[in-house]
């Protein structure tokens, strides 16, 4: 790396904010997709938007690629550094700048964690709705880049529905304000395309978000069914009744057993369990909940448990959220896939996955956000057996093909990043990708802003397939994959 550039970089940020020591850089070699690794030329930890701007400006002048990083919990290698590039770590921009309860707005720096916002506004009866299960550790900047969602996005939408404006540094080093606290700013909806762009268009340095008031009532139900198909019928019937639950989650037997072994949620030992949560005004929720209960019975539920208080609800969610990590109890390694199918195609796609399971000889657990058809198949394997990791990855890729065949998507929440860029051309044609590249080249004509992500590029040689490995924050018990 050019010394003059590094000297200027060091001068542009506060003392100690430039890291070059290979040992210090180890932490930053990957995000939570740990098999993709690269050592950046340097990492900077700016303390202000002005410092971010100064860094990007220098990168622009010297044609040095840079990658923004929040808290490194991404699961698609979005924050994978570019070797010899700069990694801009935003964790020190972690102030909540303004809380405006009458207007239900909050303005934060990008390094603030998702859950911190809710923690701050909870005493005022409010919360920030998007709830990725990594919420206690992931950053708002990362959420904006990935358009993150959580279990409750069926009713409340994704990050894009809750971000009103951002301040961002463009790859040229210019600072722009897009959107703001007020709705409908004049001009193109640049914000709409920046959210979910995986850090390839700009570095977000500030964001204004929408808050919601806590619903008056929340009711959660856990129903056991003989099979995934029966549970799926119940979901169809609930939607057919015109009910949009806050959350609808499903688990199959393999993941129920794994969760039981790990956290003992005492779920019924049935073919599948369905979790349905409704929230809203008390009377409305109770009335609709009675319908949900009836529907579950009619669809053949063998057991129904209703959580009427927070403790019972927490137990149910603990069982659900433990599902990923718990797979470690039933398999030495596993690969987590993230794909989406139209909800009504779930039975057919799950049948294909079951056939694949039989054919491949690898066990596949299924947990999913059933309301929006977001699948997380967990492919079990043993890396001690030669070739099995590669086999698991091939199986995971084949499942993505099923999702595409059914009219779905290659990712519902983890993003494309470096991991799935190779699958993009299965879902989009050359014209589609070109139209997206038009946006990309308008923002980043020199292609220095998180290059190599999202858009398909030839597979890197020496790249090894990606088994699931427990992220340090999972090991520390801070988050479960979900």
């Amino acid at each position: 790396m050019n010394n003059r550039f590094l000297d200027r970089l060091a001068a542009a940020v506060s003392p100690g904010a430039l890291l070059r020591d290979p040992v210090e850089l180890l932490t930053y070699e990957s995000d939570a997709l740990v098999h993709l690794r690269a050592t950046p030329g340097a990492a900077v930890l700016p303390r202000s938007a002005a410092e971010v701007q100064a860094v990007v400006r220098l990168c622009h002048e010297h044609h040095v690629p840079f990658v923004a990083r929040g808290h490194g919990t991404g699961l698609s290698g979005g924050a994978l550094p570019v070797a010899d590039g700069i990694l801009i770590v935003l964790s020190r921009l972690n102030r909540i700048l303004d809380i405006d309860i009458p207007n239900l707005r909050v303005t934060v720096e990008p390094g603030v964690t998702n859950a911190e916002i809710t923690r701050q506004v909870a005493p005022l009866g409010c919360y920030y709705a998007p709830d990725p299960s990594s919420q206690s550790v992931c950053s708002i900047g990362g959420n904006i880049a990935e358009n993150s969602g959580g279990a409750h996005c069926l009713k409340y939408g994704f990050t894009v529905h809750h971000v009103l404006g951002v301040e961002a540094v463009l790859p040229t080093g210019d600072m722009i304000q897009v959107g703001g606290a007020v709705l409908d700013p004049p001009g193109l909806d640049l914000l709409g395309v920046m959210v979910g762009s995986e850090g390839t268009l700009a570095v977000v340095t500030k964001a204004t978000l929408r808050l919601l008031r806590r619903p008056e009532a929340v009711l959660t139900l856990l129903a056991g069914f003989g099979s995934i198909d029966e549970a799926g019928e119940a979901v169809s019937a609930i939607i057919g009744h015109g009910i949009v639950p806050a959350a609808v989650e499903m688990m199959d037997r393999l993941t129920i057993d794994a969760a039981e072994a790990a956290v003992h949620p005492d779920f019924p030992k049935t073919g599948a369990v369905l979790i349905v949560e409704l929230d809203g005004p008390q009377d409305e929720v109770h009335e609709l909940f009675a319908i949900v209960e009836r529907v579950c019975h009619a669809s053949g539920a063998s057991t129904i448990e209703i959580a009427r208080d927070a403790a019972a609800r927490d137990r149910i969610w603990r069982g659900r959220k433990a599902a990923f990590a718990a797979m470690g109890r039933v398999s030495p390694n596993y690969y987590v896939q993230d794909g989406v199918v139209p909800r009504t195609r779930l039975p057919e796609v799950l049948r294909r996955i079951r056939d694949l399971e039989a054919r491949s000889g690898l066990r596949i657990g299924n947990v999913f956000h059933a309301g929006d058809g977001n699948l997380h198949p967990l492919i079990c394997y043993d890396e001690a057996i030669a070739g099995q990791a590669e086999h698991a990855e091939a199986v995971a890729s084949e499942i993505l093909q099923y999702c595409i065949d059914a009219g779905g998507s290659i990712t519902g929440e983890h993003g494309v990043g470096a991991d799935k860029s190779k699958h993009m051309s299965k879902m989009f044609g050359p014209n589609d990708l070109d139209a997206m590249r038009m946006v990309r080249s308008a923002f980043d004509p020199a292609a220095i802003c998180n290059p190599g992500k999202v858009f398909p590029t030839p597979r890197l040689c020496g790249e090894v397939p990606g088994p699931y490995r427990q992220h340090p924050i999972e090991r520390a018990g801070l988050a479960e994959r979900f």
């Binding site: 007020v182 709705l183 001009g187 939607i239 015109g242 058809g373 779905g408 879902m427 139209a435 946006v439």
Partner: protein
């Protein structure tokens, strides 16, 4: 030269016409039924309209997925008539839904009172098919609600006013039709009272689908669309809040309710007049209304306001001679700006539109908007000059 009208019968022909126009260097303005053609900037340099009106089928309703893919030329009313067979709807309720086409609604990111509950068009769109300026067809998003693969070009098209591409079809997340509806009509003493009341209703444990304000008569329309029992209970609860705030209220249903909403829409959207959209923080709405009241009294113009009181988005209509209308635009823009908001001219008599910038100041992001425009439409043949920031 008169402006030609191109009316392709299908998406393929639409794209071919775009390619041809690009070759011939002709400028085009995409349109649906033309209901919003007077919106946005003047059309000084246009050779032809490209109407997507004939792209009106098929309407693909995936009821079990609460999703529909609809062609640009279908009107919202046509779409909702189809979706109603399965007791669902595309929950967008802009003025003039009978004539407004999906393409036009997306291009203007239009919405109406029920934005309170369902969001605007950009919040509901999940996929799009467009024809690029060079005649290639491209898609983004898809037909699943949860999807983070690739850039969200569907949202970028929302509110792009035909300046980036021609919208061929769009896919939306739908909502179930509610079994029952009630509306509370509340009258209060002044603008501040109306706005405060709206914020109180918004903070209460209720689920209104609309909280609409009317001025200069200080009235709120608060709508509940849910089950029969909940609609009754919640409208009573809202009524109690109205009365505690020293207002008077009544609950309407069925024909009385439909009529109240028809009249509400007509207050601003009846033909003619200058219409602006003023957006500010919800807590600034009262101040805007008070200043508008003073301005109108001082200058002597007639006005009407309807708007999303709890969201801070108002439609302001002014009926006045051109000179005064131009002055009203400037004055309102100052009022909105001082309160951290913006005012956009949505529709204006030709004599007014020629003398105002409909968009106002777009700020530092305008250079990036230009850059995006220049990539999508390097020859500047799509709706030149019509969009914000001179796009």
């Amino acid at each position: 030269m008169p402006i030609r009208l191109l009316e392709p019968p299908d998406a393929e022909t639409a794209a071919a016409m775009l390619a041809q126009s690009a070759t011939d260097g002709l400028s085009l303005v995409p349109r649906g039924c033309g209901t919003k053609l007077s919106w946005g900037g003047d059309l000084p340099r246009v050779d032809a309209f490209l109407s997507t009106r004939l792209l009106s089928s098929p309407i693909d309703h995936f009821a079990g997925d609460l999703v529909a893919t609809v062609p640009a030329g279908a009107t919202l009313a046509e779409v909702n008539a189809v979706l109603a067979h399965e007791r669902q709807w595309l929950p967008i309720d802009p003025a003039g839904a009978a004539q407004a086409t999906i393409g036009g609604i997306v291009a203007t990111n239009d919405s109406g009172p029920r934005r309170q509950k369902h969001g605007a068009t950009r919040d509901l769109i999940i996929g799009i098919e467009i024809a690029l300026a060079d005649g290639r067809r491209a898609r983004a998003g898809g037909r699943v609600v949860k999807n983070v693969a690739g850039y969200d070009l569907a949202r970028l098209m929302c509110g792009s006013f035909g300046t980036l591409a021609v919208i061929l079809s769009a896919t939306f997340k739908l909502a179930p039709l509610a079994p029952a509806s009630r509306t509370v009509i509340a009258d209060v003493h002044d603008a501040a009272g109306a706005s405060d009341l709206a914020l109180q209703i918004n903070a209460a444990p209720l689920s209104p689908s609309a909280i609409e304000l009317q001025a200069p008569r200080h009235r709120l329309l608060i709508r509940f669309e849910t089950t029969e029992a909940a609609a009754i209970r919640q409208s009573q609860a809202a009524l109690a809040i109205v009365e505690a705030a020293h207002g008077t209220g009544t609950v309407v249903e069925d024909e009385g309710e439909r009529d109240a909403w028809r009249r509400h829409e007509a207050l601003v959207w009846a033909p003619g007049g200058l219409v602006l959209k003023v957006s500010v923080l919800p807590t600034e709405v009262a101040g805007v209304l008070t200043e508008l009241e003073r301005l109108a009294a001082g200058t002597g113009f007639a006005y009407a306001v309807v708007g999303r009181a709890a969201l801070g988005v108002l439609a302001v209509r002014v009926d006045a001679p051109d000179d005064i209308s131009v002055m009203a635009v400037e004055a309102l823009r100052r009022v909105a700006a001082r309160r951290g908001g913006a005012a956009i001219v949505i529709r204006a008599p030709a004599g007014v539109m020629a003398r105002v910038d409909p968009w106002g100041d777009v700020g530092a992001a305008s250079a990036m908007m230009q850059a995006v425009k220049s990539r999508f439409d390097p020859l500047n043949t799509l709706s030149p000059g019509r969009g914000p920031a001179g796009l």
